[in-house]
């Protein structure tokens, strides 16, 4: 309608964020127009500061401000938990149930998205298995098709080196209602039932 190219450019930038469509990007952009200049300045500073300071841990691939993330720096241990992305590290850390180190894949094997084993952070995992005395890999990818396929691939890849490979348990989530659990979850829960 109007020669508001700069707004369209900002809308275009916002659509590149995950899960943001055109309408949502439009709302965000209009919010920026309506907010005062201090907010925008702060926003830019925050963006640039993240880009300037945050890198990936050279050992596990997690976000870090130093060469090694502070999980790798503080913890040793022979158990490594493999996750898809840094958010999963935070989720597991919040549970407090794991005190080993992580390995972040930055993706999963997904032929539909043209992502093969070479496109995820696997090579450095093999290096770690060789150099560190790792005895167990806990594969904590999501329990979906891609996550399962990636888990199986890693298991097959690593088994020959004698490392124990485990997978997070699958079953009923705490607090769910049996009535509303899906069939696959229920059949897994039955299959993996434990003695009490």
């Amino acid at each position: 309608m109007q020669n508001l190219d700069c707004i369209n450019r900002l809308i275009n930038c916002f659509t590149k964020l995950p899960g943001v469509g055109y309408k949502t990007a439009e709302r965000y952009a209009y919010k920026i127009v309506e907010e005062d200049g201090a907010f925008t300045k702060d926003f830019c500073d925050a963006l640039l500061s993240v880009k300037a300071n945050v890198k990936f841990c050279r050992r596990c691939g997690n976000f870090s401000v130093a060469d090694e993330c502070n999980i790798c720096a503080k913890r040793g241990g022979d158990v490594v938990c493999i996750v898809r992305d840094p958010r999963d590290v935070i989720a597991i850390e919040k549970s407090g149930a794991f005190n080993g180190t992580y390995h972040v894949l930055h993706g999963v094997i997904s032929p539909l998205d043209k992502k093969g084993p070479d496109d995820i952070n696997l090579k450095s995992l093999l290096v770690r298995i060789r150099d560190e005395k790792i005895t167990e890999l806990i594969i904590a990818t999501n329990p979906d098709v891609e996550g399962e396929a990636t888990a199986n691939y890693i298991a097959a890849l690593v088994k020959p080196s004698g490392v124990r490979v485990t997978r997070l348990a699958q079953g009923l989530a705490i607090g769910t209602n049996l009535e509303y659990a899906d069939q696959v979850t229920l059949s897994r829960a039955l299959m993996n039932r434990v003695e009490i």
Copy 2:
């Protein structure tokens, strides 16, 4: 978990966008970390350029790069359509069914959000009614509680000056299924039925 203050600061910025909660902001921030520097630079440029170039039309309150938006600059006419925000201008322009000028309120009267008549762009509307030869105001606020209240307020305010005040028709949306229409919409559609 880690001294990643800059990420937290960016997450905090993202949560200020409309409809963005902590988890969503986290996803956006991690996307920024994972993208290359060019994207972030482009993003910042777009943000700053919007802030530097886009202002409000001094006549109608719509977004504009000049003193007057190009709708006000191109069109005259005595019919003014009153909308809540600039996105509504775009929506009505897309319909192609209106060729008068607009007046953007930048909000609606909403006591729950502590927004009274003085907090929306009403004063300049009264000035326009006095200075321009306006014969009709079409109130196109949303058909919800706040929108209706604002419409009624403006109607009461403007009626003494002899200007005709109308409201967008309320009834069944095109393509909807009668079966799934809500009760209020159906009763409005019945009430406002038209001869064929």
